[in-house]
Symmetry: C2
Subunit: 212 residues, 2 copies
């Protein structure tokens, strides 16, 4: 199994965390986005969206971090990480969507903007909307986690694996910056970070990127 990977990417980290929790060995293929390796013809044949992560497994190619989590959970996770019972699967799905929606256009982008990461994604968008979506994401997570240890069901699922990375990176990388976000304001989220960090197979977050 090959993971086309970028160390500092929260989306790639989701897959590294999942593979480690599942105990699956794999080969890392670093993709250097600073020189545009994700936009070469060879890479675009793997992923027409031109993004990492991409997983190659048994000669099949899966792009998109959420789709890769689904694939890995179904292949190796039994009913644990993505249950097939309709209501249980739908509950996991709700959080995968929150992560793609408020998480991506809020939390993840807020971090990129505050760290001045060099990407079109980090530069575009209005700060007022980014900050509003980020607060919505954190409040939505906190609301759920006030009443439950995990986002969906009574144990960790890919909902947690998907939603943890950018929330935790936002806190780690921006809490001390002006306009930054701290989970000190979202205590149920902070407590959930601790539960995830205690999962067997947990791997540390990427370090804060050097300032641009």
């Amino acid at each position: 199994m090959k993971l086309y990977d970028l160390e500092r990417s929260g989306n790639c980290y989701k897959i590294r965390l999942m593979l480690s929790c599942l105990g699956i060995a794999y080969e890392r293929v670093p993709v250097n986005i600073d020189v545009g390796e994700q936009k070469t013809d060879a890479f675009l044949r793997l992923n027409p969206r031109g993004q990492v992560p991409v997983l190659e497994d048994e000669g099949r190619v899966i792009w998109d971090s959420t789709a890769i989590l689904v694939c890995l959970a179904r292949r190796f996770g039994g009913e644990m990480w993505l249950p097939t019972e309709p209501f249980a699967m739908a509950q996991v799905m709700q959080w995968l969507v929150v992560e793609q929606n408020e998480g991506r256009y809020g939390t993840s982008r807020a971090r990129a903007r505050l760290l001045k990461l060099q990407s079109e994604f980090a530069r575009s968008g209005e700060w007022s909307e980014i900050a509003r979506l980020t607060r919505t994401a954190l409040q939505t997570l906190n609301g759920q986690l006030r009443n439950a240890d995990w986002l969906a069901g009574d144990h960790a699922t890919i909902a947690d694996v998907a939603c943890y990375p950018y929330a935790a990176l936002l806190d780690q990388d921006t809490a001390t910056l002006p306009d930054g976000f701290s989970v000190a304001d979202y205590p149920a989220v902070r407590a959930w970070f601790g539960r995830i960090e205690a999962l067997p197979g947990y791997v540390p977050l990427p370090r804060r990127p050097a300032p641009a």
Copy 2:
């Protein structure tokens, strides 16, 4: 089964289309967002995000259109609308994410902006980014559909049910407007519209909202 519904919403239409294709009877509960019914305490107890659609089924409540599609497909669709084989499920997931990402922040928002719909979502965001994401969404769909009849696998799945509505509404509602989008520029997408419209159980798109 109860669907908390808004006639003109593409996300609600996704669920009406799915239920009709599955041949499932249900009760429609109209939610009047023009007077803020989706933000009342009673509604927020159903969906903390304060959005339609919401499905109530056997006393359980599912919010988010994508999560509802997953729930319905698993409950009533066998392996047809959402296969459980890992790679097949991941392929469906890729398109659910494209819809939540470029679809929501591009296609859906472009339509809302061009029609001047009254919502915070329609008003915020930079047009240059909205237009770029919309083109990415349409190009990504067109690239897939040049080589395949359906988005994932060899028949219709919830990937198609999720991605069709806002793409088709964008074309129906904005093709003749300045800065509007027409699928005449994306012929594989146009041909796919025809295949979806021929599905047993297809229901017509919501009509174009009256100008604000």
